[in-house]
């Protein structure tokens, strides 16, 4: 019943629209939310959007996952492994930065009691 959704062009359109809407949600959060945890959440959402966009636009529904086994030996029928490898790397890096950011935020809160990024202005004098 929804067969028309399986055409490659349609899938690519869905992925583009979906991932960009997700990116929009993240960007909106980044621009308007002030709480530090919300900012980190927004950044995580934006990152997910990029990951989904990349994998979604580079895959081909006709092809299989790039793993050779007894039934799949033809490389011509496999999906591109590079985007997957890149996103694997990017996910881990994003998590590392997130953990570090949270530890900064916790220590900062311990010292000053502030969690809103627009009140973080110890400097200016």
């Amino acid at each position: 019943m929804f067969e028309f959704l399986n055409q490659p062009e349609v899938i690519k359109t869905i992925v583009t629209l979906g991932a960009m809407s997700l990116f929009f949600v993240g960007l909106f959060g980044l621009l308007t939310r002030k709480h530090i945890v919300k900012v980190f959440i927004s950044i995580a959402i934006m990152e997910s959007a990029i990951f989904l966009l990349f994998i979604g636009l580079s895959f081909n529904r006709e092809k299989v996952a790039p793993i050779i086994d007894a039934t799949q030996t033809q490389v011509a029928t496999m999906n591109d492994p590079i985007p997957q490898a890149m996103i694997l790397t990017a996910i881990v890096i994003g998590m590392a930065v997130l953990a570090l950011g949270v530890s900064f935020a916790i220590e900062y809160y311990k010292l000053t009691g502030k969690t809103e990024i627009d009140t973080m202005n110890e400097m200016r004098f």
Binding site: L53, F54, P83, G101, F104, T112, I117, M123
Partner: protein, 483 residues
Amino acid sequence: MSSTLFIALPLLFGFATPLLSRLGKNALAYTSVLMQLSLLGLALSLLLAHSSTTVELISIAAPLGISFVLSTASLLMVLLFTLLMTLFSLYYLFQRRANAYANESKFFTLLNMLLAASIGLVLSSDIFNIYVFFEIAGISAYILSAYSKTALALESGLKYLLTGAVASIFLLFAIVLIYLHVGSLNLAVIAEQFQLLPYNVKLLISLLLLIGFGFKVEVFPLNFWVTDVYQGSTSLVNALFSGIVVKAYLFVFFHILYLFLSQGEFTLFLLYLGGVSMLVAEVAGLRQTNLKRLFAYSSLGQVALIFVAFAMQNIQAVQAAFFIVIAHSLAKFMLFLALASLEKTEQNMHIDRLKQIDSPFLMVMMFLAMLSLLGIPLFVGFVGKFLLLKSLAVEGMLTLLVMVVVASFIEAIYYFKLMGYMLHKGTRSEKVEVSLGEKMIFVSLGLSLLLLGVFPMSIAGFLQNAAEVLLDQTAYITLLVGG
């Protein structure tokens, strides 16, 4: 010899830190300096060998896998970074007894990771590999910025981290689009095929790359975080930020720009962006009373000057850019180290305290550095500014010429104010002790500023060669992709 060593050795050192710190209190510090010295020796021997551009493969052949390209231009940057990092480590060793960092082994790890990442940014020819090094350099810089764990330091670290995370998202977005449309990550292959893309896609990728790198190369609307970070971090670490990290990002951004982004209107836009950020930074610097913040604004202005020079895209201007890079790195390094020596008693100096301090040696050294930054003849800063102005005049870009002159004039106002404070007659109460080792480092930095300024011809040929190599797109493509 292998260019991979420049990256792999500091990484190995970083990973092995816990092992080395077992060996004794000083073993780690000395091995770190020793390793940096040997890297410096390697870079110098490569310089003297006058070898042509070499490609170092990782695992598989060039267009498919990652490779490192060591050309005259990247060798220049590698040499600069290793030299500055070695001097930094030596300086740290000399003043260590007085005020060592807490958890010293972690500090050394971060320094070496920063060195590895900066060199990796300069050498790598694969855009995703550049993203990874971008992150390593960023993440070590965040921690170095927050290292002292005071409220100020943590705030600056947090701001640095947030802007850096946003920047890396945009950079990753650009890389994703490049791979989807070009089908490769190798800079040479991208350079070959980028011009065939539709105009809008090219524009989008250029803008995303500009946003991604713009945070890091500190151009105008995206540099709001810089001064806060400089103010929150210690002066010691600021020396690294303005001497090494920014320069690595600038180099890689313009390397990418020359390879495939350079189109008429986009570069013109970049030129004026640089001009505007220069003016804004200098004007905002005028009313600063905190020394660190003042130097941060001056740093922004100088980095924008380098930005303009690189964006000119001709050999003379790029040669001038290299001159300013060297001059600014050495001079700012000196200023921030001097500030670190002065700040042993108190962080965040007000400029009035310059009147109180009794240390003729440091005053002379800061004086030298400021003169070079202002572009007074006989200093290397003059050579760079002069060449840039000449090239702007030859190209007939009068607006930019006026912008550069006005910015230099404004910069002169506040530096002369500082010099006036330093020459202020009156009782000077605060004595600052400077050890012999520290003095040697300051003297060597100051002498190199003077010597390069008096004999600019000694390196002009090398810098011109570097500029030619950096601008030569076809040679790079032939080297990596083959005829």
